[in-house]
């Protein structure tokens, strides 16, 4: 995004800002323009003033030089030699020679080119350069005629008769000693040479130049390198005359470039002194200065605009954050309470507060938290407030809270002092961490089991061997007391024992039951060890693509053939209601583990219903499998007595059991929870069904990585 686009987007961010900025922009634009033009005019005035000064200097210089020449000539004209030289006599003849010598001497080292004496008939009698004589007459020249009339005068000639270049001629009458007009003495000089040492190439600039023009616009003198053999155009002469009259600069165009000229008319010679230059060049400092001034103004505008835009944005952000705050306040999943700091009275609570505590807003507004006894221990409230006053904020202050229905929750309080409407308020955020705490505790228990499982793995071999002996020995005991075995009968016969009677005795004295007890105790001990090992088993068991329906069916099949279960309850008597979604995706899991989990839950359900008092009339287990967007949910609902709240909280804890001693290990559900949550990244929870029975919910994520 470009700078201007940023600026524009910044401006458009706030609609209220636009008119303000427009006014500011207009103001600054006007002041920028004024600054630009006034600076430009001032600078241009300065430049033109300088030109005017130069012209004035040139004008005076030319005037002085011409006047000096004229007065010098006037002095010369009074010298007797020249009057004598004009006589048509012998004496005149020799005087002419002397005059020519004198005039030539005067030309050398002067600014004029020639001096010559003219008779009243216009004939040049003698001159500083001898080649002038006899070649032409000057009787028709204005300067000659004026001089004959007695006036010292000067004339600018477009082309001299001798040299054919523009000339300036000054002429003065020559009189005899008794005052009779004898002729005219005149000096002539090339105008270019006359002006040669004048500073016409004005300044250092390339395009500026000074000119001397005669009244018709012929160039009398110009800086070196400028063509002089053409007259200035009439229209340009108009500009020259206009400038000379008004004293102001005049503009004209020369091809593509605009030029400016300034002219002054020289009183002595009637010449126009002209300075001309490219307008751009002349006014460049002015433009630069003006641009600088305008630029500074524009930069100021930009700065002001940016500041305003930033201010507007900040205000918008503030407004947004205010809205955000109130939204967060109302819809936060945490309870938020706003109370006046001085009085302790509640001024606002959010929706979560009313939902969680059961108190309505009206019940708590204007009261203190001590008044409606939300704190179980008042000293917790005092400590929380004391820490808040001391530090200005409190993080994660754990304490029990009492809700309206009397239930106790573990809460984490965070408090912050905020200023609202110039009053100090206490904002308390309350998070109910009862559930989190419980889960944490359970995971701690589970972790313990994992380490216990690790120990079990080390000693399992050593325990399994003696258990093997116990089981084996009891089996041998059963076998060797059987009355139908040849070897038993042979051994009994040798010592006169009646095997039939022994069998009766064993049954009468319940020896057969004792032996069975020994066997089942050994089996149970081995089951506990196996369950403990389940915790420590590294999850090297392979995840495969599994059909969850097949696993559920297989687990139901196992349950109905379960030997241990058969002793307390016949699973086959339970009505099984399968309700599987028709399009269930295969998910990645370890089939044997999930099967074990489901078997544990089925066993648990069957045993719970078997133990129910009064007995469940028509025991039923519903198995539902649902396809959810990111997971598969298995629900196992029984119609038993359900699980009381107190037990529900602890049901997944290791070694927690409500079964009669010897029926369960207290590890089945705990292992199941472990397999589902840790092993498969899923969730397992217990809920209460519509009929009051227990519902175990197992959710397995679909995105398990598979090993195919």
């Amino acid at each position: 995004m470009t700078w201007s686009a940023k600026l524009l987007s910044g401006l458009s961010l706030n609609r209220h800002l636009a008119p303000v900025l427009t006014v500011v922009f207009a103001g600054v634009l006007v002041s920028t323009l004024v600054a630009y033009f006034s600076t430009r005019a001032t600078m241009a005035g300065l430049a033109l003033g300088q030109a005017r000064q130069t012209l004035g200097f040139l004008n005076r210089e030319i005037g002085t030089r011409v006047s000096q020449l004229a007065s010098r000539l006037e002095l010369w004209s009074q010298e007797e030699l020249y009057a004598l030289a004009l006589e048509d006599s012998f004496l005149g003849e020799s005087a002419r020679t002397e005059a020519a010598r004198r005039m030539a001497a005067r030309v050398a080292g002067s600014s004029f080119d020639r001096v010559f004496l003219v008779r009243p008939n216009g004939e040049i009698v003698t001159a500083s350069n001898p080649d002038m004589m006899g070649r032409f007459t000057v009787g028709d020249r204005g300067y000659f005629q004026k001089a004959l009339a007695g006036k010292v005068n000067m004339e600018t000639l477009a082309a001299g008769r001798h040299s054919n270049v523009p000339m300036l001629v000054i002429a003065a009458p020559v009189r005899t000693g008794d005052g009779v007009l004898a002729g005219v003495i005149a000096v002539a000089m090339e105008t270019a040479r006359f002006a040669g040492d004048l500073p016409l190439g004005a300044g250092s600039s390339q395009t500026a130049a000074g000119y001397l023009l005669d009244t018709a616009g012929r160039i009398l003198a110009a800086p070196p390198g400028i063509e002089t053999d053409h007259p200035w155009h009439d229209w340009r002469m108009d500009q020259v005359r206009q400038s000379a009259t008004s004293g102001e600069a005049a503009r004209y165009r020369e091809g593509e470039t605009g030029r400016v000229l300034m002219a002054v008319a020289n009183a002595e010679t009637g010449w126009y002194l002209v300075l001309s230059a490219d307008e751009d060049e002349l006014l460049r400092p002015a433009s630069r200065m003006a641009w600088l001034t305008g630029g500074v103004s524009l930069a100021t505008l930009a700065l002001v605009a940016l500041t305003l835009a930033a201010l507007g944005r900040a205000m918008a952000v503030m407004r947004q954050s205010e809205e955000k705050f109130s939204r967060i306040f109302m819809h936060s999943p945490d309870t938020i309470i706003l109370a006046d700091m001085e009085t302790g009275r509640i001024v606002d609570v959010n929706e979560t507060f009313t939902k969680r505590t059961g108190y309505s807003r009206e019940e708590v507004l204007g009261k203190t938290s001590a008044e409606f006894q939300i704190y179980v221990e008042l000293k917790d409230r005092e400590e929380f407030h004391a820490r808040l006053r001391r530090d200005g904020h409190v993080e994660h202050f754990e304490c029990p809270a009492r809700y309206k229905d009397g239930s106790i929750a573990i809460c984490a309080l965070s408090g912050q002092v905020v200023i609202i409407d110039n009053r100090r308020h206490l904002m308390t955020m309350v998070r109910d961490i009862t559930e989190t705490k419980r889960m944490q505790e359970m995971m701690v228990q589970t972790e313990k089991m994992i380490s216990v499982g690790g120990i079990a793995a080390g000693i399992a071999h050593e325990i399994n061997n003696p258990l093997g002996i116990v089981l084996q020995a009891s089996q041998n005991l059963v076998q060797r007391t059987r009355p139908d075995f040849r070897k038993n009968l042979e051994a009994a016969e040798k010592i006169g024992l009646d095997m039939g009677l022994l069998d009766q005795y064993m049954k009468a004295r319940k020896l057969d039951v004792f032996i069975e007890d020994i066997q089942s105790a050994a089996s149970r001990a081995s089951a506990i060890i196996r369950h403990m090992l389940d915790f420590s088993r590294r999850s090297e068991s392979r995840r495969t693509v599994c059909d969850i329906r097949a696993i559920a069916d297989s687990a139901l099949d196992l349950a109905s053939n379960d030997y241990d279960l058969k002793k307390s309850y016949d699973f086959k008597k339970i009505e099984i209601a399968r309700d599987y979604d028709t399009s269930l995706p295969d998910i990645g899991c370890t089939a044997t583990e999930i099967e074990q989990v489901l078997l544990n839950v089925f066993r648990n359900a069957a045993q719970a219903m078997a133990q129910a008092d009064p007995p469940v009339a028509a025991p039923r287990i519903a198995v539902r499998i649902r396809d959810l967007p990111d997971r598969v949910r298995i629900e196992i609902e029984d119609n038993g007595p359900g699980v009381p709240e107190a037990i529900r909280k602890r049901i997944f804890e290791p070694f927690f059991t409500t079964k009669q001693p010897g029926v369960g290990t207290g590890l089945g559900l705990s292992v199941s929870y472990f397999i589902v949550t840790k092993g498969h990244g899923g969730r397992m929870a217990i809920e209460t069904g519509r009929d009051g029975g227990a519902v175990f919910c197992i959710e397995l994520p679909k995105d398990q990585r598979l090993e195919v």
Partner: protein
């Protein structure tokens, strides 16, 4: 008809004896036992067996090594594993030696289950 020979290999004396005695009662087998793989191989060198019930953790050579060795020497045809091991999964080595999960028994395992499998293997293998 001669009875099939069975070898019980276990370093735990009581297990060895109890299982031997249990099986002997049926009058179906000639049952011998050994406490180590080395001793078992010596016994089998005299007369081969039809089936061996092998513990895995043994002093000296392991149960797996014994099975490989006995098989290589042609000293025994069938093998069952009877172990107190915590690793409930059949090892790839044993799989390669032709054992399946049905040949695995984890202590405490019922002798009746072992007997059933012995009968099954011998009936099939003897045919």
């Amino acid at each position: 008809m001669s009875l099939p020979h069975i070898l019980i290999l276990d370093d735990e004396e009581r297990i060895r004896d109890l299982l031997t005695q249990y099986l002997e009662d049926f009058d179906e087998f000639v049952v011998r036992n050994a406490h180590s793989g080395e001793q078992a191989l010596e016994l089998l060198a005299g007369e081969p067996a039809d089936l061996a019930v092998v513990d895995m953790r043994l002093p000296g050579m392991s149960g797996t090594q014994f099975i490989r060795e006995a098989r290589a020497r042609g000293a025994c045809r069938h093998f069952l594993v009877h172990t107190g091991s915590v690793d409930m999964v059949i090892s790839s080595e044993l799989s390669e030696l032709g054992l399946t999960s049905r040949d695995m028994f984890f202590k405490p395992a019922g002798a009746d289950a072992i007997l059933a499998r012995i009968r099954e293997r011998l009936a099939r293998g003897g045919a």
